[in-house]
């Protein structure tokens, strides 16, 4: 990221108007326009233009594959036409403007189609040699727009993550702590944690991971997180909440893959019911040490289109004991198995047995993320410790 992230939008507008002016002069053209691929990847929307300002003002949209710009995008190649009518050009603005020749090139950066750049003339045709000149401009513009998109996505996703970071409930029986760390390579992603009290006084806890990075993963995460809360207040079986959530994900979040551990804890007795949808099992950290992964079935992740039988596992969180939940980013490293650093994690947790959840989290983060290697994935941890009777009495 090279430019000022505080105003990426102004930044892009300024860049585009300069770049378009340069393209217009260089190509000796009357009009120049940039159209960008929209979210659905089915349309191009006019984003900046000179000599065709009304295109942008009217929010012109062209289906990919149709018309001049649409075909350039669909076939991913530069094109020149020296005959303008309704068979070659969909956009009436182009036809009304009196353009007699158009030359356009796809905006492609690292194999991804970003949009289309085209220039038009009111007199004279485009020579075949001029196409490569336009392609050079297209390459520069595509790089810059990709850069800008990365900034906008990153800023929006960060805001979303920050807005959704829940405040942990304050309960006399529990000591809670959590961390969320974005990936150093991709920024925020689809990880989340959540802890909430339920109508009967028990506590629901969640750690989940929407596969993918950036704004797309973060927005899905936001929806899934609130849907889970909605099902949770009506249903006291974690497996059944995840079944309903899976149905919602498969219907509304097409082709997403999400792993979750969801559990319900009775804060009086320490009894828990936990269900895992493709997620790494939580770790039980007894007061005296001897941490181990909870032996429990791992059911299908959400979004796998198969009828999934989901299971609840009954556990007990003893006084002074801690349950530790995390996402794979904590223990997965490039070129090593998903659970490569599991032994390090267990050792760190043993070192923190019987002490405050906040300290346990800090110790774990320092033991596993303390070195300066780059983080490929975002990392989420949640520690739930049950006070011993004596200490909770003291707190009251």
């Amino acid at each position: 990221m090279t430019s000022n992230p505080a105003s990426p939008d102004l930044d892009l507008q300024a860049f585009l108007s300069q770049a378009l002016e340069a393209v217009r002069m260089d190509m000796n053209a009357a009009t120049v326009a940039v159209l960008l691929v929209d979210e659905s990847a089915q349309y191009l929307t006019a984003r900046a233009a000179q000599g065709l300002e009304e295109e942008v003002r009217q929010g012109s949209r062209v289906p990919i594959g149709l018309g001049f710009a649409g075909r350039i995008a669909g076939e991913r190649r530069a094109m020149t036409i020296n005959r303008i009518d309704e068979t070659t050009v969909v956009n009436p603005i182009l036809r009304r403007r009196g353009i007699v020749a158009l030359c356009g090139a796809p905006l492609i950066f690292e194999d991804r189609l970003v949009g289309v750049l085209h220039v038009g003339r009111i007199t004279g045709a485009f020579a075949s040699g001029e196409v490569s000149k336009l392609e050079n401009h297209a390459e520069d513009i595509a790089r810059r727009i990709t850069d800008w998109r990365g900034q906008v996505d990153g800023a929006a996703a960060r805001a979303l993550q920050e807005g959704l970071t829940p405040e942990l409930p304050r309960l006399p029986q529990l000591d809670l702590a959590a961390r969320y760390v974005p990936s150093s390579q991709h920024g925020v992603g689809g990880d989340w944690y959540d802890v909430f009290t339920l109508p009967d006084g028990s506590v629901g806890f969640v750690v989940g991971d929407v596969m993918g990075h950036g704004l797309a993963a973060a927005t899905v995460m936001g929806r899934v997180r609130s849907a889970l809360r909605a099902y949770a207040i009506e249903d006291d079986s974690p497996a059944s909440v995840l079944t309903r959530l899976d149905r919602k994900v498969q219907h509304f979040e097409f082709n997403q893959l999400i792993t979750i551990v969801y559990g319900i804890l009775n804060v009086q007795t320490g009894r828990m019911s936990v269900s895992s949808a493709g997620h790494l099992p939580p770790i039980m950290v007894p007061k005296a040490g001897g941490s181990c992964s909870v032996p429990m079935p791992t059911d299908y992740p959400l979004g796998v289109r198969r009828p999934a039988e989901r299971h609840n596992t009954q556990l007990c969180l003893d006084e002074g004991g801690m349950l530790f939940l995390f996402t794979d980013g904590l223990i997965e490293r490039p070129d090593a198995d998903i659970d490569a650093r599991m032994p390090d994690l267990l050792a760190a947790l043993d070192g923190a047995a019987g002490i405050w959840a906040e300290i346990a989290c800090a110790d774990v983060m320092s033991a596993l993320l303390g070195d300066d290697e780059d983080l490929d994935d975002d990392v989420t941890v949640l520690a739930i410790r049950r006070h011993s009777e004596s200490s909770s009495n003291r707190r009251r």
């Binding site: 992740p301 289109r305 997965e332 198995d337």
Partner: protein, 106 residues
């Protein structure tokens, strides 16, 4: 590690994708695109993934398998895993996906 991808058609007329090496953050997009195009290459309702040579699979690699499965379902096709290495089987178990796909050994 690099990933090698080749495709073939077996005696039953099913497209086969042979993956060798790592299916991970670096190779997942290529793996997906390759699998999707192999799927469209015949009328067969199955796509065989030969995973005997897959030495490494990370969580994004697992995600790529599920994505490919979703693409296959969209086209009324299903994936069949051929000779998955022990490592692949263990990783699929870890994320609860060990019973999703039919497995063939030869």
């Amino acid at each position: 590690m690099e990933m090698g991808l080749t495709s073939d058609i077996d005696d039953a007329g099913r497209p086969v994708v042979v993956a060798v090496g790592s299916i991970d953050v670096q190779s997942r997009d290529r793996f997906l695109a390759f699998g999707a195009s192999a799927m469209g290459s015949t009328e067969s309702t199955e796509l065989l993934l030969d995973l005997a040579g897959v030495t490494f699979l990370d969580s994004l690699g697992v995600g790529a398998l599920v994505k490919l499965d979703q693409l296959a379902a969209d086209k009324q096709r299903k994936l069949v895993l051929r000779n998955p290495s022990e490592r692949v089987v263990r990783l699929l178990e870890m994320v609860g996906l060990d019973n999703v796909w039919q497995v063939e050994t030869s």
